[in-house]
Amino acid sequence: MTGAQKRSIRQGLISGAIVIYLGLVGMLVAFDARAIVTGILNFATVLIAITYGGFAYLSGNRGKHGAPAQPALIAGTITGAVAGATVGVFTLVVNFLTETLGWNVRNMFTSINNALLEFFTFGQSPVVGALLMVMFGLVAGLVSGSLHLMSTTNRKVVVMGLTASVFGALGAPLFKVMLDGLNIPNRWLFERDGLTLIGAITLFVVFAAARMGSLRVGGPRQALLKVPGTTEKNLRWVITALALFGIAILPWIVNDFVSDVLGFVGLYILLGLGLNIVVGFAGLLDLGYVAFYAVGAYSVALLTARSSILVGGAVTSPAVAAYTNFWVAIPITIVIAVLIGVAIGAPVLRLRGDYLAIVTLGFGEIIRTLVLSDWLKSTFGGPQGLTEVTSAPFFGLNTRDPQILYYLIYAFAGFALFISYRLKTSRVGRAWAAMREDEDIAEGMGVSVIKYKLLAFATGAAVGSLGGAFFAAKLSVANPGSFTLLVSINVLAVVVLGGIGSIPGVVVGSLVLVGLPELLREFGEFRLHIYGAILIAIMILKPEGLIPDKRRALELHQSDHQPEKSVLSAAATEGVQ
């Protein structure tokens, strides 16, 4: 057996194992109910086809030295068949254990139920089902192996069309609401929670054609520039105007729930932009960023909450200045956040990298523990927190309404974007970048490391506290349960996923990590599975993030032509340590 064949078989075993795993966690049975093309194709089938096909495609890739290891069709077919066989063997084994030996495997694997077995055997007897599964894998592998035979352009076009159909179907409930909101007839496109056959074909054709067109002229941007009278500059204006218009009308074409989700995305954009200043610009790994989210929420709550707290039988009011207007509370909140940012930053000035991360992690927990404590219960309300935080008054509009609050949050997110851009391209941004690259040398070139570290913590804290302030105003409560370590990790994931230091990356990261899981509610209990899979995939495929910072992208992709990392510097005996 050649190495290439071994590789194909290994890919098949892996994809088969993944499919079994998806079954064991219950994902396949759940997605069996989710249509892609209503009545014809469901998502679970598409998912295993994608899994088989994806690995089959990989096994058809050229070998390490660029020579075709074996015909792609054969490689794909082997992989697909092995994958199908793996799953087939699994069903046979399960059948043998349950039927012949009478074991109750559901004691351990709660998701191995009749629905799963029926799905794996296509409703046939175990043996016939296993054979069908091998055939299914074989065909999926053959089809995706044949993608190798296409020209690059055609392959991209086909993949684009298929992707559009699948995502169109997954987002069907959302898109349907939006189209209804715009009074666009869509009965021909969507049926229940999936696409109609005509809808699926239409999506495929439209997106494939669009991709084909844009590839012909070298990308969508070039395509638009071909339109007479279009220049780089006015194109940018048009795109900006369209984006703003889209953001403006969005709440009115979706329902309250989606507006609410978009509000959360906005909050995470605020938090992400704040953390991006600390981690991305200044290179200070802060794992306790949730502290500033909490500071923002509690500050606003303390200044505006009308709740009373029961302490030792006596009712006290926590609010320092109850009924203070939200807009008065905001600047005070920012000042408090800056002070706390500096207070947390000051003791960790000498720490770097991992050490800094651990200490900030501790600070984040300290803040949460303090607000949770009995000791400060008369101020922060302990576990129940502070309730009845006033909403943000805005020209007499009800800002509890997600559609109204949406605008406020996005206005502030826009402001934070502006701040980020301006800082990044300024003397301050350069000093931060220098410090991130090499703290000692930055100091040697005149950057006061102490000042700029504190500045980064303070700026990041101010932006993050805005997120907290709106969070409290949105939910009308501030309680310790909302400010756990997981928030810090999520915000960091948003920043890393988008691309560390990249400003548009934060926006995309928030949409993907905060928006998508909320909107694809069907994925409910599998959210963390999918979340993890996406994170791993992106970190393998695009380690620099979805929308990489230009500098960092160059940095990560230069390893191939790195100038000699001088023997001299490696062997340097003296030098600043």
Binding site: F418, I419, R422, L423, S426, R427, V428, G429, R430, A431, A433, A434, R436, E437, D438, D440, I441, A442, E443, G444, M445, G446, V447, S448, V449, L455, T459, R551, R552, L554, E555, Q558, H561, Q562, P563, E564, S566, L568, S569, A572, T573, E574, G575, V576
Partner: protein, 262 residues
């Protein structure tokens, strides 16, 4: 004429190792001082003390009329001292131009507020920073100027050394401390460097202290040479004086050097 830099009785100890012992030395305005000594003689340690990276256990340091003992590196940069590093240390993920622009940091003011408002004054300052950085890059002809948007880490080795010097120049320093600027350069590049160091003084008025192992470079550029060994100053004087000093030959140059280098 008062000295630009004057140090007296400088000592530092790392644990049990006496790295630098009671060194006196000075540099005058417009002078080029070479510092030589075998590996481990304490040359770079001396640089690190003078530029504020280490604080000495004993000794006084006066720079341009200021007592600089205990000052941090950034304060010294502000006073007019700038250095390069033996193992090239650039801001790798920043562009060539940005590296040089960082050099102007202490000469400019814009803070967060300036960055946000971007007033006329801030814009003018930013233009000035860019001009000054470009001017420093242009000192090395097209090698750096032609690649100002490349990442520092993408430059060839010799160009990275040049960029370090340009970055130091962009701080508007009076005194440049160059740590083995010729290391890793080929003969042609060394000749270029000798010429450039000369021009740094004659055309741009920098005073220079350089550490160098390459004797032809030291010979060509230095007005005065200071020789160190085991953390102590053995002797100082003109290149001819120092290179014929018996202690120096024993400690550093050795027999082979006696025959070939001198």
């Amino acid at each position: 004429m008062s000295h630009l830099l004057e140090v007296h009785g400088l000592s530092i100890r790392f644990g049990g190792v006496q790295a630098v012992t009671k060194i006196d030395f000075h540099a005058d305005p417009g002078e080029i001082v070479g510092v030589i000594g075998p590996n481990g003689a304490g040359k770079t340690t001396l640089f690190n003390i003078v530029t504020g990276f280490y604080s000495p256990d004993e000794g006084t340091m006066i720079f341009d009329g200021h007592n600089i003992s205990g000052l941090k590196p950034n304060a010294l940069t502000r006073l007019g001292m700038a250095r390069t590093f033996q193992s090239v240390r650039l801001f790798n993920a920043m562009t060539v131009l940005e590296n040089a622009m960082v050099g102007q940091h202490t000469r400019t003011k814009a803070g967060v507020w300036g960055a946000l408002v971007r007033s006329k004054r801030t814009k003018a300052e930013e233009d000035h920073i860019r001009d000054r950085a470009r001017e420093a890059l242009a000192f090395f002809g097209d090698r750096l100027s032609g690649r100002e948007d490349a990442l520092a880490s993408d430059l060839a080795y010799a160009d990275r050394r040049r960029l370090e010097i340009a970055r130091a120049m962009a701080t508007d320093a009076k005194l440049l401390l160059l740590d083995e600027p010729a290391a890793g350069m080929n003969p042609a590049e060394k000749d270029g460097l000798i010429n450039q160091i000369g021009r740094l003084r004659s055309e741009l008025g920098y005073s220079i202290i350089l550490i160098e192992h390459d004797m032809p470079v030291i010979k060509s550029v230095s007005d005065r040479v200071v020789a160190l060994d085991h953390g102590e100053k053995i002797t100082e004087g003109t290149y001819e004086e120092v290179s014929t000093n018996k202690q120096v030959i024993e400690a550093y140059l050795g027999k082979a050097a006696e025959e070939s280098h001198l």
